[in-house]
Symmetry: C2
Subunit: 300 residues, 2 copies
Amino acid sequence: MKCKICKGKAVIKLKRHNIKLCKEHFNEFFIRQVEKAIKEFRMFRRKDKILVCVSGGKDSLVLWLVLSKLGYNVTGMYINLGIDEYSEKSKTKVINFAEKNNLKYIIVDLNELGYPIPELSKKSRRPECSVCGTVKRYYFNKIAYDYDFDVVATGHNLDDEASRLLGNILHWNDEYLEKQLPVLPAEGKMLKKKVKPLIRLTEQEIASFAFLNKVDYILDECPLSVGATSLVYKDALNLIEEKIVGTKQFFYLQYVKKLMNRLEHKNNEKSDIELKNCKICGMESFHDVCSFCRLVSDER
Amino acid sequence: MKCKICKGKAVIKLKRHNIKLCKEHFNEFFIRQVEKAIKEFRMFRRKDKILVCVSGGKDSLVLWLVLSKLGYNVTGMYINLGIDEYSEKSKTKVINFAEKNNLKYIIVDLNELGYPIPELSKKSRRPECSVCGTVKRYYFNKIAYDYDFDVVATGHNLDDEASRLLGNILHWNDEYLEKQLPVLPAEGKMLKKKVKPLIRLTEQEIASFAFLNKVDYILDECPLSVGATSLVYKDALNLIEEKIVGTKQFFYLQYVKKLMNRLEHKNNEKSDIELKNCKICGMESFHDVCSFCRLVSDER
């Protein structure tokens, strides 16, 4: 197996691009895909301060590393979710990774704050993944606002986004369908712009990049996410991709193109719901009390 | 396992409806689903003459039988596609079935007409399934027009339609997406209304009905359709349905609802392309020469 570019020893075969590449040229390819996404969707500029949400998993660590290698001003933010051993293990991975690669980071500890996810889920009688989403979104915004970041970046990849899109289409969740873009604009002053620079890369490509570049990430999935429906959609898409190569990428990126066109046309008739300041914490919200404070209010 | 209705011995478990039924009540359920589709989408009325396209497979034979049992004025139409043994076998199944159940039928023989599918495919250098589609659509319309039928019914089921919809969405085939309804209205005088009364029933339910009611259908799939991409989408949907019961039905029927609403709103601004009479055969078409005559024109 020879690299298509240098004829050296290929280490990976990219089926959907129909090429084999050596480590050097795979890295080049990989970084180009990230740059392409950043540019195509105008995610951020050279001078922007970027907060990268890191979980200790392959996607977020790879994103952090690549953006830093590209010379962007990045800081990692790790949230200790208070999920026992899993959280302790992933925190260690993040800290070791930051130190090895000389990266800045901020840690939010839900145990110390008194909001570990399993407890919040029990108290609020809401599913763990839903509670976790609310809490993470809140702290992404809060830390980005408090420390004056311009943009929040997450490690969502092509599989994440394509499978989420598939699930939303199969159940016709119109509200979510309208929002599934690689860039969500800032709202007000406190809700920062959100971007997903890895959306042109698959889970498998990211895992290969991590392996080849010795990124030491946590292999365990979150124990609370076992049986998550998103995995079913991923399996279904992989089954199709296996037979009809390129489907996943076309499906998602073409959807994004269509949605962006539609939103552009709609922009003039935009009827903005007004942002308020949450009566409890002061962060901006579309409600009088923000989702996070509604979730934790019992404890306040 | 007990029937939910009569507590007699259940013979089938319908996972997506969460019920077990005996033969009698399954048959009742099954027929009610057909009636519901006919009524909901205004497919046809009591006095209409219905041409049922029959292939010899389970779907079309079951459709033919159920419509006849419901007292509709049905005639089967079988097209001998000229696919060797497969065509001969399926023709025998259709004739035996018609005689056993005392049903009227019409046979179109592509061998006699000089248009067997494998030959047409070779001559036109078009894929067999595409050629077969053109030829079938042509004769559905032609026979329905020549014999003065009001509507053409086909045996497409929920799996067929949901998997086709999935394929069209994954590749964003907008043109097809606009047309994927259980009822296609008549165009002009020659292009008859098309309906799909089995769209509320799954492949498995239809196979069970056929088995329980001793419908003797051809088990072989068409040998030319081996490896068809539609099967990949069916597998993917079944994988999801297994874990998230009801997805298939919601996905398709909700899409139909949304599309029908949209088309209703659009109806006023309809820009009709005019129908013409094909210069060669005289049938109505949107082109000067109809798709069928363009396909077979070498031979004329």
